[in-house]
Subunit: 436 residues, 2 copies
Amino acid sequence: MEKEFKNLIKTRFPYLCNTRLLLAVSGGVDSMVLACLCAHAHLDFSIAHCNFMLRGEESDGDESFVRNFAEQLEVPFFTQAFQTEKYASEKGISTQMAARDLRYEWFEELRKTNRHEYILTAHHANDNLETFLINLIRGTGPEGLSGISEKNHKVIRPLLSFSRKEIEAYAAENKLEWREDSSNASDKYMRNKIRHQLVPVMMELNPQLLQSFAKTQDHLRENMDLVEDYISLLYPKLVQKDLYGYQIDLDFLKKIPSKNQILYQLLKSFRFTEWDDVYNLVDAQSGKMVFSPTHRLIRDRETLLLTERRVKTGRKHYVFEENEKFLMIPGGILRVKPVSEIGETAANKIYVAREKLNFPLVIRRWKKGDYFHPFGMKGKKKLKDYFRDEKFSIPEKEDTWILCSGEEIVWIVNHRADDRFKVEPETREILQVSFG
Amino acid sequence: MEKEFKNLIKTRFPYLCNTRLLLAVSGGVDSMVLACLCAHAHLDFSIAHCNFMLRGEESDGDESFVRNFAEQLEVPFFTQAFQTEKYASEKGISTQMAARDLRYEWFEELRKTNRHEYILTAHHANDNLETFLINLIRGTGPEGLSGISEKNHKVIRPLLSFSRKEIEAYAAENKLEWREDSSNASDKYMRNKIRHQLVPVMMELNPQLLQSFAKTQDHLRENMDLVEDYISLLYPKLVQKDLYGYQIDLDFLKKIPSKNQILYQLLKSFRFTEWDDVYNLVDAQSGKMVFSPTHRLIRDRETLLLTERRVKTGRKHYVFEENEKFLMIPGGILRVKPVSEIGETAANKIYVAREKLNFPLVIRRWKKGDYFHPFGMKGKKKLKDYFRDEKFSIPEKEDTWILCSGEEIVWIVNHRADDRFKVEPETREILQVSFG
């Protein structure tokens, strides 16, 4: 295996020879073999070890084991302890995902601050196959099947074309010591079943399984890349950013075959789980929504709007007393001051006749059945129709304050004043109301 | 299961109720159950049975079994015997592929001539999973993983969301009879191992395996569709048809990430097997080639040329005697006739001074080191340089005849005459040489 490894470095990763590398070493057989191979190939490396503190004394034992190993090799050693469980529960993710995030974040930091060029990890061909099968069995999007690649930005996995068997044989030949990981990672049971019951049968059916599987994954990964290229090409026509998030143009989306897959690719990082509901929004009525823990997707006329989910704290109803000068509410400050005459007008400033108002005023969100008398118009109009005519999006409607005098609407704040409260020749006292 | 089937027809395939259907019935449990379900749902169908004549008396037994069943149901019955082995060896494909081709071809013919609207087959969820695993184990392009869909043009597979277990339970409940297929299809051993050793372990790890696998396959299929959309978008910029086949523009291809996958998708129907060699052509020297049984792909300057493979029969060397008037060679007829004066000139017609020629003339392909004296120019030029300057593609060069007098080139046939043989004032006898 040593010969093959050296050859691999020479042909595929020649640039590893003249630069500083950071080796991720857990103390397990795979990473110990990687470190040993790198030492024999005279590569210039440091060793980084994560202590996830998930297995008490055992974790600490791993750390000192790897530290001693680094001392024997006379290479720099870095270690870091992580509050993995705490991080996982704070982020609401699995311990495993937490460990992965923490590890790569720290490696990248180490890489930059200590002038290492590349990070090397000890993933091998069986890891990739097992992960593929886990994801296949659990059910997954296409990412779950495309596996990890030999090189991804600054992370290189030079053992990816070697099998577990080769690695274990090398460890035995070279009388390497290593630590067995007794962790009960959430997928450990599944991984063991796959390792001992599925993969051997598959290998019996095709002894070249790992090689042909590597090609299959290349295909899948390249397909994923193509899909991403395609979507980045469609993106400018398909998606617009607006004040509240993103607008996806349904007229355009509907013309594309496989629109579900496009939606999936666009939205995959927003933690939706009910994908069928997401896909059904394309043909749903305006106003329908689907929620993820962090976001919501709203069918709004001929678009889908993706916005952050609002935390529904804060009241929906505020009172503005007669003697008050201002009131802070979410989105801005409402100010009321007496003026001697009407000044310049603007969307965020109106003038009203004080004697027409019934204090206290009320500031609230709109509700079904609301109507007003648009300034400068005879007669009344339903708010619903006003919003429709002015093409308010759903988040915009939700965000709009309504200033009321009793049951009557005085101002659709920052949009349109009501005709009933306007200043007239006989007005005795003028109030300027502004918001912002 | 009957209820679920009726519900499926009602919700997903309501149009099956008012039209004529063609049921593919082998006599196995799956297709017998499908026929029974269709009868109970009062669908209007005929039964089609293929006799592939692969298992002698057993095949004939299947045929009469299905015929009797159709008579009991009082539905039209169609059957056809196929020379499957013969067809397979003629086409150079596996028996299994041959059977599939023959089956769908005949079904489609039956569908059209007997006014059936749709073809129904009995593929179920386990079939799809097993085929996926077979392809995964053998190694496959992404098509092999994306499986078959519930509806594809005029073929509908209404059992695709049902498991083998449900189908077998239904057969038992309804006391259906069926024929066991003893065929030794090439994948039978593999399929059995997968069915009995892999799938049960996977089901144990996820009892909802078939459902989540169906979603995974939807993803894969949609991804494939997206890739095809993308490629059809790139196609006009990437590929040009020319006289000899297709030209793939490498300047353009190189700008696209995942160019291997693009090449794979473009070329997948041309029976290449050495895909790494194909991919390497992108960075290879001009002149490099990769062969499939039917085609070859040639690196030719900044393009890849896909041409049909030539059958290398026919000589590369012909002799034209002094007393001959014409000679048929691949690509046309070479004619030589005395004329009294130079007539109109054209690319496919030259005039030479007879007394300068050494008979017999030789017609051959170009070879390294060839040079000539281009008509109207002083001095000589290497053929290699001429071809390069005139931007001959490799197949074009191979296709070009060279007319020689002894070692001297008289004519790059249909391209350029040699200056040394031109008609001059003192020429006594003029010959017109033409080709076409």
